[in-house]
């Protein structure tokens, strides 16, 4: 009969809607339930808590550098000489893979603070080496200049500058 067929069809679509709604709700619930299991692997609050390292600059003579650890990574703190500053500024307009002015990379020209991790694949570059008077990464041959900019080699970017601030003339806080 047309009526019963119609009723049957209506019943089927009501049933299908019930199944669809329940299934969708169940799937949404499962996804929401899965999230904490994924998110718990993200850095925890204590890791994220801004950790700072204070560096005493008074023991670093001109033309030398120290390496400190910040958030588990090495940070180069270099007391640049006049020559190094001049060379860095002179090359501001050179052919740079990652163009950046030296003045944009330092707060005070005589102090260069950079994360000592090669932007290629993460090795620690060696200071006072390479063809540009700065750093050289022995892993795949990247050369960085006296401003830490990539000049030759496979690294795509200049050495990264962390957040830092001078507390006074002899102390800088990184992070």
């Amino acid at each position: 009969m047309a009526t019963t067929q119609g009723e049957a069809a209506a019943g089927r679509s009501r049933r299908d809607f019930l199944y669809l709604a329940t299934g969708a709700l169940g799937a949404a619930g499962a996804a929401a339930a899965a999230w904490p299991f994924v998110d718990q692997m993200n850095p925890s609050a204590d890791v994220l808590a801004l950790s700072s390292t204070e560096v005493d600059l008074s023991g670093i003579p001109v033309g030398s550098a120290i390496t400190v650890v910040w958030r588990g990574k090495p940070v180069f703190v270099r007391h640049r000489s006049e020559d190094e500053i001049a060379a860095a500024q002179r090359d501001d307009n050179a052919d740079l893979k990652d163009p950046q002015r030296d003045a944009d990379r330092v707060q005070r020209p005589e102090w260069l603070v950079m994360i000592g991790v090669c932007t290629h694949l993460g090795c620690v570059p060696v200071g006072e080496s390479g063809d540009f008077g700065g750093w050289f990464c022995p892993c795949h041959g990247s050369h960085y200049d006296t401003s830490g900019r990539i000049r030759r080699g496979p690294a795509p970017e200049n050495l990264w500058i962390p957040e830092y601030a001078f507390i006074d003339d002899a102390t800088v806080r990184i992070g």
Binding site: G26, P36, F37, D39, Q40, M41, S44, A45, D46, V47
Partner: protein, 411 residues
Amino acid sequence: MSFQSKSRIVNWIEYRLPIFSFLNHTVGTEYPMPKNLNYWWNFGSIAGIALVIQILTGIVLAMHFTPDSRLAFDSVEQIMRNVNYGWLLRYLHANGASMFFLAVYIHMFRGLYYGSYKAPRELLWWIGLVIFLLMMAAAFMGYVLPWGQMSFWAATVITSLFSAVPVVGDTLVSWLWGGFTVDNPTLKRFFSLHYVIPFVIAGLVVLHIWALHVHKSNNPLGIDIKGPQDTIPFHPYYTVKDMFGFGVFFILLALFVFYAPNMLLATDNYIPANPMVTPPHIVPEWYFLPYYAILRAVPDKLGGVVAMFGAIAILFVLPWLDTSRVRSARFRPIYRQFFWIFVADSILLGYVGANPPEGGFILLGQIGTVYYFLHFLVIMPLVGWFERPKPLPVSIAEPVLSGAAAGSGKE
């Protein structure tokens, strides 16, 4: 019988690894289930999902927990305070364990009431008992891991029990401890074992289900399946019923996790373990309380240990202690009453276990323990012999058709 599908991908896989027909025959439209199962049959699958929850939460907790006595307590607080959703995972794991035991106890009592342990399901019952024993081992060791006061002292009390073993007792205990007392080596090995046992349980669950599938599920009438008229396919009838059961289970679990997360946990476990100070009341988790009561009911140390393990060992011989040829208590008017008395006795033992062994509790514990063994060793064989069971229905399908026998007696 190979599985023909409209999907070419499905057929491609099926030809190489017949997973779809396998699923179809185990949990799908080709697996026959008695059509008359009630809600007491939901607790097997609920126990299964509880195991899954414990394994999932346990694995992620293990990413943050430090199994060293100097760091364990702090690492748990680190999880509670710093790990994203750490508090949720921890409370899920701790309360999930309680829910797991709740489901398994109901599952076991269902077996006792409906005679699910009787032939030909003796081995199924045994595998279940081994799973239960492993659950207790895993739960006991898991409780030690946070290295709170209760963790340490419960570990001390329970491992010390083994010194009751004649001749080799002390060597055995020092072997368990890895030292002269519960300490770092104990914690480390407990962590390793606690991590691995759930996977052994999972393997046994596979055996458990395999054994079940040989003679299929029991049913409230306790009579065998005679033919297809007595059965309906597992899917969609019981898949959907199990999912509803999961929903109710999750609501109960959520109520504990979100609104009463510490209700079932001893407050003393929020105090770091101190080997110099014993808490005034050492209490195990609620699911161990009846066995704790039995242990303490016997004044002799070795006797208490034997009684406690005996209480579980006796369940292995239950199929032979129960002499009745009728499975389901629905048709056993005498046994049915003793069953409920046994339930009350179990709860009484739990109550005794929660209290210090003083005053009236001592006698209560002894009465409860004696009655426990009386139930299995004396009552069940005698009732089986002397009871006059009610007439069994002809088949599972018949009560549904005639309607008369279906209304016989309450549960």
